[in-house]
Structure formats: structure tokens, C-alpha cells
Subunit: 200 residues, 2 copies
DNA sequence: GTCTATAAATGGATAGAC
DNA sequence: GTCTATCCATTTATAGAC
């Protein structure tokens, strides 16, 4: 029953659907069945609520980076089945993670008018995924699993496929399993097609 | 000096940056150097302004569909250079078109809480592009330019590449030529890589 | 078609009691 | 930590003059 936590969770949920500016402190407190003054006890003002959420994402990104690195250290080879498994996990555990998904929605709105949100969005959606993919494809080229020619484009195309499936089927939907399954099916199919094109 | 037009243009510009709810009628009229009552002469209320914009996009989509169809009717063959040209034109004239680009931004925000915006967004960003691409790839398979195996995934992957380049470099930026050039460079490179993978 | 003036609602934020 | 009560700015929208 930590209300500070609740406030952050409810705020994230509402900001992710309508955007920071469009959600009032009254709205948030209404859902929490608390008065505004209760919220102002925990946060200096409305902006501080948003800043606290930004800090949470940054922490989350770092913790994901280290789990990624740990998992990668144990990889020895990547065939088609492994690649499909990794892709689906990437989609499900990263993009579709209920927290991450809400952050992406919120940042999608805020980045248009907030430079800080823009930087965090890029980190979460482009820089981090691309960085990890590059490591995997480099390994695959080294092991002579995929063609060396055109390797500098693999990560971008690969990430495009996954992010696009997320965007098309899951983005903005309230954690619908149906939507996730659709995205997974699309990723499985397209990643298989892509793998067949690049393998030696 | 048609003020109704100006109102729509300014509203679109502001909605695309901050979202419908976060922009006040005062903001819009401030930029127009008009009083709110002037706006309420042309539009029943704030919502009517948004509805008029939605109608504009729907009209724009239809007009684009017919230009696309006309251009397609004249195509006889598609080699690598043609494919790159079409891709760049797709990116520049469609997604980066200053009007379309603002609509995409606005709809990106509104679709999260507005079912109508969601439908229009899908039409503009997924359905229309995919529909056109399918026609081109079918022709390419028929002419034995690209491999038949995996053809059902070509359009999705192709559109992912282009939309992702748009999203990464252009989305949300105020019509920066620099940003467009970056996206064009990325598309050129990735589409070439993709073409080499699928050609016979 | 646009202006001034103003109503009515909503939103951010604080003081002080419990 | 939360509540009641309240303040003041912002916002949507309208009436009536020009």
C-alpha cells in the first residue's frame, strides 16, 4: 500500500494514454481515490511526477542492458530457431513488457515537445536494441552463419521488423494478449524470411 | 487571406506538436492574432476543428491513392535503381510531405485515446503503403526479377525499412531538410541491401 | 467576420486540521 | 499522510457591439 508507488503507476498509465498535459492531477487522484493534497505531499508539483517517471525508465534501461549482456555472454551459436526465439523474446520481454510498453507510449507523445523525452525515447527504442543486435550479427558473421556482404545493414533491418510489428499490433493497446500474439506471429514469419535471405 | 484555412493550418501545426488536448483555443488564436470568438464563428467548438482536420486527411489519402494508381499503371519493369528511386520518393513525397508528416504526428498522439484517429492512422501509415507495395512486388515476381519464395513478406519488410527511417530521422522534426537527407541516405542503403537479398 | 466582455468549468497548488 | 477548504490562473464557450 505504498501510495507514492501507486501514484507513479497510475500517472504512467494515464500519461501513456493521453499525454502529460492532457491528464490533470485531479484525474490521477480521482483514480487513486485520494485528494490532490495527498499527491502534493509526495511530489513537489506535477512536473516532479513526470521527472520521477523519466528516472524510472533510465534505471530500467540500464538494468535491461546488463541482463542482455549477461545472456549474450553465454551464446555460442545462432541458427534459425535460436534467431526466432531471440526475436520473439526481444518483442515480448522488451517492447511488450507492460512497463516498457507504457513508457514507449508516453514518450512517443512527450518527445514531440520535450527534448529530454526525445533522448530517452531514442535510447529505449533505437540505440539500446541496435547496440545489442550488432553484437549478435557480428558473432554470426564471424561464425560464417550469415553472409558478410551487407552485414552493416542487418541490425537496422532486423530491428525495423520487430519494432514495426510492435507498432502495428501492440502499441497503445492495453496489454492485450491477442495483440501480442499477432505481433509474435508476424515477427516469426518475417524473421524467418529475413534469415533465409542472409544465411550462407 | 482565408481565415478558416489559416485556422486549420495553425491548429494542425500545434496539434501535431503537443496534441489536441494540450493546445488551447487561445493558443491557436494567439498565433493567428485573432480572438477566440473569431474561431468560434467558423467552428462550432474545438472538437469540430479536429473533425475538419480528420476529414482533410481522409481526402488526402484518397487523392494519394489515385496518383499512386496512375503512376503504377505506367510501370513496366523495376530494377535496383528504379526500386531505390521509388523508395526515396515514397519516403520524401509521402511520409515527409509537410502535410502528411504533421498528420502522422497528430494522429500518433490522438490514436492512443481516439478510435477514429486510430483508424485513420492505420490507413495512412500501414494499409495504404502496404497495398501499393504489394502491387509492385507482385509485378516483380511475375517478371522474374525477385525470388518467388518469401514474396508474401517483401512488402512488410520493405515498408518497415522506409517507415522506420522516417520515424528515426524525420518524425516530429519541423521539416528539417537535414533530417530528410539522413532518412534518404538510410533508405537508399538499406533498400539496396534488401534488393540484393531478394533479386534473382 | 471580428471585437469586447463575461460566464462557467477545470486545473495547479497551498494552508491548516486531524 | 491524508483531508477540507480555498485561491487564482487557464480554458471553453457565448452574447452583443461594430
Amino acid at each position: 500500500m505504498n501510495n507514492r508507488e501507486n501514484m507513479l503507476n497510475v500517472a504512467l498509465d494515464m500519461f501513456s494514454k493521453r499525454g502529460y498535459k492532457a491528464v490533470s492531477v485531479r484525474d490521477i487522484c480521482g483514480k487513486l481515490k485520494l485528494k490532490e493534497s495527498a499527491l502534493y505531499y509526495h511530489f513537489k508539483n506535477k512536473q516532479a511526477l513526470l521527472d520521477a517517471l523519466y528516472q524510472r525508465i533510465l534505471d530500467l534501461i540500464e538494468s535491461m542492458r546488463s541482463s542482455f549482456d549477461q545472456a549474450f555472454a553465454m551464446i555460442t551459436s545462432v541458427g534459425m530457431e535460436e534467431m526466432k526465439m531471440v526475436s520473439v523474446s526481444f518483442l515480448k520481454d522488451y517492447f511488450c513488457n507492460s512497463h516498457v510498453s507504457k513508457f514507449i507510449s508516453m514518450l512517443t507523445i512527450e518527445r514531440l515537445s520535450d527534448a529530454k523525452a526525445y533522448r530517452i525515447y531514442r535510447k529505449l527504442v533505437y540505440d539500446m536494441p541496435l547496440e545489442q543486435c550488432d553484437k549478435v550479427f557480428k558473432l554470426m558473421v564471424q561464425k560464417r552463419i550469415v553472409k558478410a556482404a551487407g552485414q552493416e545493414n542487418y541490425s537496422k533491418i532486423y530491428c525495423s521488423i520487430i519494432f514495426n510489428a510492435y507498432n502495428e499490433h501492440v502499441f497503445g493497446k492495453t496489454a492485450s494478449t491477442r495483440a501480442v500474439e499477432k505481433a509474435v506471429a508476424q515477427v516469426n514469419q518475417e524473421i524467418e524470411a529475413f534469415y533465409k535471405l542472409i544465411r550462407i
